[in-house]
């Protein structure tokens, strides 16, 4: 009989293991943080060059929240790739735990890691641009949209994690295609209405579009969640559909990998 406690313990195992890995590779983590901060600063400075505080805030929001979503997406998408790289995938797949337990642990760690990473970048940017006035912003709105957007990105992350399961050598690299596609169509650094019509259709399918729209409205104009229903409901629908679909698809991919022997080989 599988108990909830047992499954939570298994989920915690993955979060703890990822923490161990982060701790062991702390110089790399520091380097990645510096890289992320530098990237966010560079993008935000474009707004300073244009002399528009509104543009500065818009770019800053884009840089910060794209970082959060990228980190969450990256950790989950690498769930399989890292294990394949280390050669531990078969051992993990043999463990008497449910697929969902494994993914919950990865997701939980990704979100906590992403929040800490993003908070550091946010603090550095606020210190770097003291002229920014955030007194009228609504941080509650930003928090709600981050939380809601996380569900959708967890789903997309799980779908991306399938690629290294199916494509042994280049699966990990293929996840970048998904990430860069989302960056292109989601209005991270520009409004989506400047995109070609067919791309705007894709924009409306990307949860990042609604997350960034909501966060910008909250931080720039102080808009409350109640006034942003048009951004909330697509996120609720996408999150509700994407996670179960991603879990189902991951299960199918796992079965395919077991049928074709793709769990065995390291990339």
């Amino acid at each position: 009989m599988i108990t909830i406690r047992g499954e939570l313990r298994a989920s915690y195992a993955f979060a703890e293991r990822n923490f161990f890995l982060t701790r062991r590779t702390w110089p790399w983590e520091v380097a990645f943080l510096i890289y992320s901060v530098a990237g966010a600063l560079s993008i935000t400075l474009i707004g300073i060059d244009q002399g528009s505080k509104r543009l500065v805030l818009s770019l800053m929001v884009g840089a910060i929240f794209w970082n959060y979503l990228s980190v969450v997406f990256g950790w989950i998408a690498e769930t399989i790739a890292v294990e394949r790289w280390e050669g531990t995938l078969e051992y993990t797949m043999m463990a008497p735990i449910r697929r969902s337990s494994r993914l919950i642990g990865q997701v939980a760690y990704a979100m906590v890691y992403g929040l800490i990473h993003t908070a550091v970048i946010f603090i550095v940017l606020v210190l770097f641009f003291p002229e920014l006035d955030l007194s009228s912003s609504n941080p509650g709105t930003a928090a709600v949209f981050m939380a809601l957007g996380s569900f959708s990105f967890v789903g997309i992350g799980i779908l991306a994690a399938i690629l290294p399961l199916l494509y042994v050598e280049r699966g990990a690299q293929m996840t970048f295609v998904i990430q860069s596609g989302l960056l292109l169509v989601s209005g991270v650094y520009y409004p989506i209405n400047i995109l070609p019509g067919w791309m705007q259709v894709l924009s409306h399918l990307s949860p990042a579009t609604y997350v960034l729209d909501g966060v910008r409205a909250g931080l720039t104009n102080g808009v409350g969640v109640a006034d942003l229903g048009h951004d909330i409901w697509p996120l609720v629908i996408l999150g509700t559909l994407l996670i179960p679909f991603a879990l189902w698809a991951f299960g199918r991919a796992e079965h395919y990998a077991k049928r074709t022997g793709k769990l065995k080989r390291t990339g």
Binding site: E16, L21, M94, A95, P96, K258, R259, G261, K264
Partner: protein
Amino acid sequence: MIHPSIADRLSTEPPDPGAAARPPALLVERVSKSFVIGRGKPPVAAVTDVSLRLERGEIHGVLGANGSGKSTLIRLIAGLLTLDAGRIQVFGHDVVRDELAVKRLINRVSVDAAFFKKLSPMENLTFAARLYGLDVGTARKTVYAILERLHVGSDRVDRPIEQMSRGMQQKVAIARALLTSPALLLLDEPTTGLDPRSKLDVQEFVEEVRKTHDTSIVLMTHDLAEAERLCDAVTIIDGGRVVDADTPAGLVSSATDRLGRPATLWDVFMTSTGRSLDDDVAEEGEEAIP
């Protein structure tokens, strides 16, 4: 081609009719698995119509050259590959229908010690303990005891595994498998590539585990001396098929009769397969998987 005189020995029927009510540790019945290695190419059979039966508390050796299908067979038992045909039961649990129940009963040591190399043995084993629902405090004590028995100093348990020799890593892999007290332990060439001292440590520990724990063991090996020393029964596979099966003494005795001179397990293997254990037969086995 299976020698006609051994056909009876390949049966998966229990040797003692009274044991039928008590499922064996492992029952493999007419299992087959093939892989598609490219478009337009016919599937490659890695395992064909393989059967074996492991009674509780026994060590069953599976002998075969590289690429003969040993690792595919162990992956099928571990649920890491799907079956094309046949069935596998672990203590009466079907590996397909009762996947989680089977996973709780088994653990595996593969030829490559699979760890997060940047993490220490203790961090890796803590991860394993949590996956198998063990109390981490108790597991830590067990880890120290097992590693000490395998001559791995306690000063090594908190340093990254990548700083350990291959032999040491393999001992940690064995500690990880035994930490979960598996009822069925799958050992896939656990001593391949180890120095003589480490090999002896591992072999002695396997014997000790059998004596002190209620563990049944499948040992994939191409070390004939190891098979002769450790195994209660041996199945020889070649090209993914079972070509002989009996106790080590029984196999040697049959070969002696066939050859008309005193035979060894090496003679048994050569006459059964027509090849040396060092031969690679990748084109017929799992090494050919894309």
